[in-house]
Amino acid sequence: MSAIELPLAQPVKARPRRSAADRRMARLGLMFAAPSALLLLGFYIVPMIVLAVFSVTDYQLGALSTRFTGFDNFTKAFHDPVFLRALKNTVIYAAIVIPLGVCLALGIALLVYGRKKSRAFWEVAYFLPVTATLVAMATVWQFLLHPSLGPVNAAIKAMGYEPVSFLSNPTLLIPTMAMIGVWQVLGFNMVLFLAGLTAIPKDLYEAARLDGAKSAVDRFFIVTWPMLGPTTVFVVVTTSISAFKVFETVAVLTRGRFGSETLLFDLYLEGFEYSNTGYAAALTLLFLLIVLVLSIGQMWHMDRKVHY
């Protein structure tokens, strides 16, 4: 209809007509955004409020009465030996996974980047663990590291050493899981570094060479390392976030036995096995705090790509 009226429109009437189009656009926009907005409300905003409310009560799923307990759950957490152990385990896990997962990935990326014909092959070889189902692969690792049936210990014995009980010696449990974590994350980080390397202009290397950076090591520190800065920050942040979310390997390898709980596994036990909903909510908020602190770096990284 409006198409027919258009030629008749007077310049004076242009303004109300524009606002009619604006209103139509606003209506359409709201309609298009509504399903997502409702889901955002129902699956993010309301749950976050409920979580915060749970955390200051002694609520237990199925309990008849619930009391307001203030910050008791949070004080309890810092006196709970299991939670403190889970926190310590997770920090140790992250302290192994982050440096190894980042540095080894950078090394591999530098080597793979220089290959021409075989690059695709190496990419596949190192990326394969990223796509594989971790639960299934953790089961395979359990078998690989078996004290008497696994090839890893067979190799150790063949070299004349005592077999190592990777998965029953409490001090080795977390480092063993961390090695599996490194194995899983390497390919992912390698690809991020490869993308970063591709973005470095070639003439920078030429300029560095002319300026007297003769060896490849010199050129790495003068050009590659500073140019990779943003990529490295991003890789460190994503690796730390995923390290603090370690769950599958614990669920498969130990089920939290021998004091090998991690943050998320302890949270799972309190919230869903023991139904200590209120206490688990407080633990969830502490977990969220850690992840948010780590995410700030990532937010900053993404924010540079966002324009309102």
Partner: protein
């Protein structure tokens, strides 16, 4: 010396690739071996007795392996379809339409990007328990119907679509739905492909949420099924266990080998796991 210099990177990469690929090789090899050869730790690729049929039959017979796979397909596709259906119009509205609370919604989407699923699990679980919806496909899928990451990704991609074409299409009488799905989304097919890969891989491999809301073996997706299976086998029959692991891992690994570029793009452009 020159030769060494030339082949040193290959040598280092090959040595590094051994631990990367050993689990896959060992998994496949053991799944072909007979239980009697389980003590054979040699890496020799040809088993003395070829027992693949027996192992795979056991994996499929001991637990409903076909059912796990079907559950995985249902859950992953259900989630992906819902995510695309909700995220594409929202991203289009945020990128190309002016409406009230647009900036607020964009800020909320970006804030929600920082909240991991595990932080929302507890209240969502209580809600599903109160409404008697635990142990359903709906419980497994519903928290993921909205992907703030998809909205963010499509918003970034739609923004670069030329406004002139949209204006022209409006004048030509295209409805806003047709413009959104037929024109703008078509310009962002690489983003759609990357997101689809990301979503399918993430939910095929997810253990945390299914472990919380599903206790019924018949509803378990592959990772949870694998956990049930290793409980049933309790480490006795590694041949069958590895056959099960192979079945569960195969779909994603095979897809990866065939669509390497899409997979790498999909899993890394996301960054947020």
């Amino acid at each position: 010396m020159v030769l060494l210099r030339k082949y040193l990177p290959h040598l280092v990469l090959a040595l590094g690739a051994i631990p990367m690929l050993l689990p896959f090789y060992w998994m496949l090899l053991t799944s072909f071996r007979s239980p009697a050869e389980i003590f054979d730790v040699s890496l020799w690729p040809i088993p003395k007795n070829f027992d693949a049929v027996e192992n795979y039959a056991r994996a499929a017979g001991q637990v409903p392996m076909a059912r796990f796979m079907l559950n995985g397909v249902i859950v992953c596709l259900g989630i992906l379809i819902a995510q695309v259906l909700t995220a594409v119009p929202a991203a289009y509205a945020l990128a190309k339409l002016r409406f009230p609370a647009r900036k607020l919604m964009l800020s909320l989407v970006i804030a929600a990007l920082c909240i991991p699923m595990q932080a929302l699990a507890l209240p969502l679980y209580v809600g599903l328990a109160k409404t008697d919806l635990l142990n359903t496909y709906f419980a497994m899928m519903s928290p993921f119907f909205l992907s703030v990451f998809a909205i963010f990704l499509f918003h970034q991609s739609f923004r670069s679509y030329p406004d002139e074409i949209i204006e022209a299409a409006r004048i030509d009488g295209f409805s806003e739905m047709e413009i959104c799905w037929g024109l703008v989304l078509r310009g962002s097919l690489p983003s759609l492909a990357a997101f689809a890969v990301f979503s399918l891989v993430a939910h095929w491999n997810d253990l945390y949420w299914p472990m919380i809301v599903v206790t019924d073996t018949n509803l378990a997706p592959p990772p949870l099924g694998m956990l049930f299976f290793s409980d049933v086998e309790s480490g006795a029959n590694y041949g069958a266990l590895m056959a099960g692991a192979t079945i569960i891992t195969a779909p994603m690994v095979v897809c990866f080998l065939f669509a390497r570029k899409h997979f790498i793009a999909g899993l890394t452009m996301t960054g947020v796991k």
